[in-house]
């Protein structure tokens, strides 16, 4: 395939893929999706949050798990970065610390797929880590 260089090339990719793409059924009500927030402040990035986020995006897609992966700020657990907050629909958010690729794998396999809790949860009493 020709190299992708312009927006027009990207449009072609989109058109080719369009037939395969199922529009997300849940995209209108994001509360039905699994929400994953990766702590991406200075402390997170310095500890490798970028790789963790990239890994999560790729793996969740590979496994066809409908999830929204976004970045968030720092919640004061800089010692445990990279931190990841996972919110499974109808459950309380859970924050995991020291999430490298192996840990991310474990979170997908154990917590997201089977609902089992694993080591490395940061016990917090908070509402959200947005601020």
């Amino acid at each position: 395939m020709a190299k992708i260089k312009t927006l027009a090339d990207l449009r072609k990719i989109k058109e080719e893929a369009q037939s395969k793409i199922k529009l997300r059924e849940n995209s209108d009500n994001p509360e039905q999706l699994i929400q994953i927030k990766v702590g991406m402040a200075t402390c997170g990035i310095a500890s490798g949050a970028k790789d963790t986020m990239k890994y999560l995006v790729e793996e969740l897609e590979q496994e066809a798990i409908d999830a929204v992966v976004t970045q968030t700020g720092c919640m004061g657990y800089c010692y445990a970065e990279p931190t990841v907050e996972v919110t499974v629909p109808k459950k309380e958010p859970v924050v995991f610390g020291y999430v490298n690729k192996e840990k991310a794998r474990e979170i997908i396999d154990m917590y997201i797929k089977r609902g089992e809790l694993i080591d490395g949860i940061i016990p917090v009493n908070f509402k959200t880590i947005d601020e």
């Binding site: 893929a17 793409i21 402390c43 310095a46 897609e61 992966v69 700020g73």
Partner: protein, 182 residues
């Protein structure tokens, strides 16, 4: 921070937090004068003079989750030790511009890194505005604008595999064409 891409990923968060609707990442390389400059410009809420003076101080932050704020301080340190410069301009209600200059050939200049990942990962969580990245060398100029991509994609999500790979490929190919320094 090991790469300029990581710095960008970090500093852009400040702009997002400042409720910017347009964030511009501008990289300019000048091999003849041995210079590389990185500019991050936003139209967010800006800072007053007091905050501006403190912003690059590692012991100053506007957060209340922790007491240090290293993002700008680390960029400043990296710029200065690679024989470069650091400048911060801001006006309340208008926006903020961060400019870091580096000596291109300096051993202490952090490599560019995977800027395509930085751009893509930032897109995923910045739906409120437009993220523009441009890179200029003596071979040419490349720029990418998230507003145009979004318009073109319509209902299709950035997270779609083909789209993700497409965006990343597009940036990589163009940077290669203008012979951007890695």
């Amino acid at each position: 921070m090991r790469t300029l891409s990581e710095h960008i990923l970090d500093i852009v968060q400040n702009s997002i937090k400042a409720k910017a609707t347009l964030i511009e990442i501008i990289v300019e390389e000048d091999k003849i004068n041995d210079l590389c400059s990185l500019t991050i410009k936003d139209n967010g809420c800006g800072m007053n003079r007091e905050t501006l003076q403190q912003a690059a101080n590692p012991f100053f932050t506007s957060r209340n989750t922790r007491k240090v704020g290293l993002g700008l301080a680390l960029l400043k340190q990296n710029a200065e030790r690679s024989n470069g410069s650091f400048k911060l301009d801001s006006e309340p209600g208008v926006g903020t511009t961060v400019t870091a200059g580096f000596q291109l050939s300096n051993v202490d200049k952090p490599p560019m890194g995977d800027i395509w990942e930085t751009y893509y990962l930032t897109l995923l969580s910045y739906s409120e505005g437009v993220l523009e990245y441009s890179h200029e060398t003596e071979k040419g100029k490349f720029s990418i604008n998230s507003g145009e991509i979004k318009e073109m994609l319509g209902d299709i999500s950035f997270q779609q595999k083909e789209i993700r790979e497409g965006i990343i490929e597009l940036i990589k190919n163009n940077l290669e064409e203008i012979e951007a320094t890695k």
